[in-house]
Symmetry: C2
Subunit: 157 residues, 2 copies
């Protein structure tokens, strides 16, 4: 499915506040309330908005390639490396790690070509000395926290 400008604005508004009201959403996107309503419905029906709107299924938008990148970094340059990584839209998540590598990155792309390009950007960052890329071939369990919370309840009674 291809998103137009309105869809994108709807998604961005929902990311900012998933509980936004339809009328406010319409205002923010700059369309009639009816339009906002039907766009939202369509996005939910297409399951681009999963779980009623909690998060966005990027694979449905063509982002099929997911990779985990482990970086080795000169410790002196760590802050600037983080800053540079943040600028890359394909970088969805950054953690400082101990063990193998110093920084762990979640990287997403539409295809391996785009991934390659993002990886080049990363390797060009001053202070990055080495990288290792692992491809996620299949998501067996997308991020979920519900069982943990249910467990939290039992744990303390």
């Amino acid at each position: 499915m291809r998103l137009d400008d309105i869809d994108l604005k709807v998604l961005l508004a929902l990311i900012k506040d998933p509980r936004i009201q339809i009328s406010e959403l319409a205002d923010e996107v700059g369309v009639a309330r009816n339009t906002a309503q039907s766009r939202l419905r369509r996005l939910q029906r297409a399951e681009i908005l999963r779980d009623g709107g909690r998060d966005i299924d990027l694979s449905k938008l063509g982002y099929d390639v997911l990779a985990f990148v482990t970086l080795e970094v000169n410790h002196r340059d760590l802050d600037s490396v983080i800053t540079a990584l943040r600028q890359i839209p394909n970088v969805l998540e950054i953690h400082e790690t101990s063990g193998r590598g110093d920084v762990w990155v979640r990287l997403i792309a539409t295809d391996t070509h785009q991934l390659q390009s993002a990886l080049r950007q990363i390797l060009r960052i001053k202070g990055v000395t080495r990288s290792e890329t692992t491809f996620a071939l299949h998501t067996h369990l997308a991020y979920r926290a519900a069982p943990l919370l249910e467990h939290y309840a039992e744990h303390d009674h």
Copy 2:
């Protein structure tokens, strides 16, 4: 902050449907509308619900230890390994990977002791031959997709 039963039910209802209406939420949780409203407000104010409710800050609930676990698995047992991993509440995410290891797991715990216990559970699973754990010391960028979506717009105009 310590959550009671009502808070947990509120969070679980919001995970299921972040756009649930207050009155329906109150019904589902089994409290008065006023109570549901004030609990929701409190959770947002405490920033346990981030971004107005999109996702839950588990570190605020005491889950301070985050680790990425890479597993080597006998390919014959892959399905049953995945099934077993799913049963563990501390496992938040599972991907099949190529490259280093066959399965990648996001694991969370309140402390290293609890982590150790979860790791033991994992290693006991039939078919898991080896594991490697990387600790996430600091989250420099929590999952975000907004910049990617903004970029998506530019990309095709």
